[in-house]
């Protein structure tokens, strides 16, 4: 048995490497440049690109979690609420972006409001980069009752029997982009959040796809916190200020 130990260990290692689905993280400029260029980050309102029962509430919750996590890590930020304030003031002055008669959104007006809000926000605040958090759809790899994507693995409701393939899932994508240069991305990180399409049955009953109800999407606090922490980890590692024991103690005492 002992003579197979090395092979077994190597086999397990290769299996783990080949089966794990790494989070998609990419630093698009040299680390030193990033540290030099990105001192203060403005967080733009989160974009929810999946269907939920309340997109606005979900976006604000992600905004809050992102801001809190970055502040805790000592990153200098302007929270998304600041941009929302400017955007809402611009929209109010413009009479909103919805047609009063049809109720339809006037896309030209919405774009104008967004463009003007960004310009006003940049005029009012000093910062180096934007951070955009988006909740996006992505495929997960499903087999044997487990789904894997963007660095996470979750158990499905049922094993799915012999079925394997892909289940639609959601991920949190964090992009850090240059403030002034159009489309100059500094960093992209994507971490799995939760399945949007689950697999039920497979053993006692027939396997079937089950959409995750809208009310259950982005509403579980622990899931959201885990996703935000994982998605922000590379950024915090780069520019976060490590909390010293003394600071931690002081912080604890003041609470």
């Amino acid at each position: 048995m002992r003579k197979y130990t090395n092979e077994i260990c190597l086999g397990l290692l290769v299996s783990l490497i080949s089966l794990s689905s790494p989070a998609t993280a990419e630093l698009l400029i040299p680390e030193a440049d990033f540290k030099e260029k990105v001192q203060r980050i403005a967080i733009l309102p989160s974009r929810i690109q999946i269907e939920t029962s309340d997109d606005y509430a979900a976006a604000r919750r992600i905004d809050e979690l992102v801001a809190t996590k970055l502040e805790e890590a000592g990153v200098d930020i302007i929270p998304a609420s600041e941009f929302l304030e400017v955007e809402q003031a611009t929209a109010r002055t413009m009479g909103g972006s919805y047609d009063a008669f049809t109720g339809d959104r006037d896309m030209a007006k919405a774009k104008t409001i967004n463009d003007l809000a960004i310009r006003e926000f940049e005029r009012l605040h000093e910062f180096d980069a934007y951070l955009i958090a988006s909740v996006v759809t992505t495929p997960s790899s499903f087999r044997g009752g487990r789904a894997r994507w963007d660095g996470i693995e979750v158990k499905t409701k049922g094993s799915g029997g012999d079925l394997y393939g892909s289940l639609t899932a959601s991920s949190l994508k964090i992009s850090v982009i240059d403030k002034t240069e159009a489309d100059a991305d500094y960093m992209v990180e994507q971490t799995g959040i939760q399945l949007l399409l689950d697999m039920d049955g497979g053993f006692w009953k027939a396997a079937r796809f089950v959409p995750v109800p809208l009310e259950e999407r982005l509403t579980d606090e622990a899931t959201n916190v885990r996703a935000v922490e994982a998605a922000l980890a590379p950024l915090i590692e780069l520019i976060g200020t490590p909390v010293t024991t003394e600071t931690a103690a002081t912080g604890g005492a003041s609470e």
């Binding site: 190597l10 299996s15 104008t112």
Partner: protein, 385 residues
């Protein structure tokens, strides 16, 4: 048992490795007979090229003749190709700045690429680069390499299986294969750059414009990094390699000399290409093209306005705003500027804190465009200043 397995594996490896095709091939101008796998590749690529031509071929015969002439000069002076194997070039009505070579010798170049170049010398470099891909049979090499990798990967899997290790599969396998193929392809790109310099020299073109052409690619790509999984190396790396060949310091080479004869040839492409690129949010490329157009039409208010817009949209820095303001101002002085030029001047002066001027231009904007979609907020801005 394990000895037998070892023999079986060794025998399989020998058989399979012997099936691997050579990836070092002679250039096409030194080959008489086309091997079967290359003939099959050509057949497939001819069909693909026909599809591209049907969808995108431009009908600009005059420009086509001009580009044909440049290609002919490069081939006849810089290669030993037999006339029946001369490549052909097709202009594509596409805004994407792109040039490509099909394995059988159909070359393509887009209007978007032609419009961004400064001179015939730069165009000669781009064409010579594509000619090199064809001449050095890069597609065949890449094709054989990919096939060989599959065989070697299979052998590797067999060997791992013998000790109980499962093969690398799924996304990791795809990433690994891409990494292997990309590294190989980057070598071909560098080779194509270097040989293109030699070909253009033989044909009597100014080789320092090879660096100019690569700088254009850098601007349109807007790149800042060496991508790990990319078929083309970083443009900066390519510029350094070309400069080394020329035995010069890249930063000291004078390039990007605008050739008025060339610009005259492509002038009719410039405004439509610039507008399409602005709509695609490719502001730097559009800015270059508008610069070319304005050389010949310095008093075109629409072009000045568009140039200012590309400058402003490419960067929201104060410097860019100041640069854009000059063009807005000039467009207004010409008396035919779009109303938005007044608004943008107001926005510029608001940004730099010149309240009086900001208010003046905002008021002028509201006067010429009282029903503009953004009139309510501009009115508020004017009142704030």
């Amino acid at each position: 048992m394990s000895k037998q397995l070892g023999k079986l594996l060794t025998a399989s490896a020998v058989v399979l490795l012997s099936a691997c095709a050579a990836t070092e091939v002679a250039p096409l101008d030194r080959v008489e007979e086309i091997p079967k796998d290359e003939a099959r590749l050509w057949e497939r690529s001819e069909a693909a090229a026909d599809g591209i031509k049907q969808a995108l071929q431009s009908g600009d015969n005059e420009l086509q003749t001009y580009v044909d002439g440049i290609l002919d000069r490069l081939i006849s002076s810089g290669t030993q190709l037999a006339p029946e194997r001369y490549p052909t070039i097709t202009l594509l009505n596409s805004v994407e700045g792109n040039a490509s070579a099909m394995p059988h010798g159909d070359l393509f170049i887009s209007y978007g690429m032609l419009a961004q170049l400064d001179s015939e010398d730069q165009l000669a470099f781009i064409l010579a680069h594509e000619v090199t891909h064809y001449l050095n049979r890069h597609s065949l090499t890449a094709n054989r390499y990919a096939t060989n990798q599959k065989v070697k990967s299979f052998l590797g899997d067999l060997a791992l299986a013998a000790i109980g290790v499962p093969p690398v599969s799924g996304p990791n396998e795809a990433a690994w294969q891409l990494a292997l193929n990309s590294r190989y392809s980057r070598e071909q790109e560098t080779e194509a750059d270097l040989q293109a310099v030699v070909i253009m020299r033989y044909a009597g073109y100014n080789d320092s414009e090879a660096i100019g052409a690569l700088e254009k690619l850098r601007v349109s790509a807007g790149e800042v990094r060496e991508p790990l999984f990319s078929t083309h190396p970083n443009v900066g790396t390519r510029i350094t390699a070309v400069a080394e060949l020329m035995e010069v310091e890249a930063s000291l080479v004078e390039h990007s000399r605008v050739d008025d004869v060339y610009i005259n040839r492509i002038e009719h492409l410039l405004m439509p290409q610039a507008v399409a690129m602005i709509n695609n949010r490719e502001y730097r490329g559009a800015s270059t093209i508008l610069g070319h157009y304005l050389r010949r039409n310095p008093e075109d208010a629409d072009a000045l306005f568009a140039h200012a817009e590309t400058t402003r949209l490419a960067s929201s820095s104060v410097e860019a705003s100041t640069e854009a303001a000059k063009s807005y101002q000039k467009a207004i002085l010409l008396g035919d500027a779009p109303p938005a030029a007044y608004r943008e001047l107001g926005m510029h002066y608001r940004l730099v804190g010149d309240h009086a001027k900001a208010r003046t231009f905002f008021m002028q904007y509201l006067e010429v465009a009282p029903d503009a979609i953004d009139a309510p907020i501009i009115k508020v801005y004017a009142e704030q200043e």
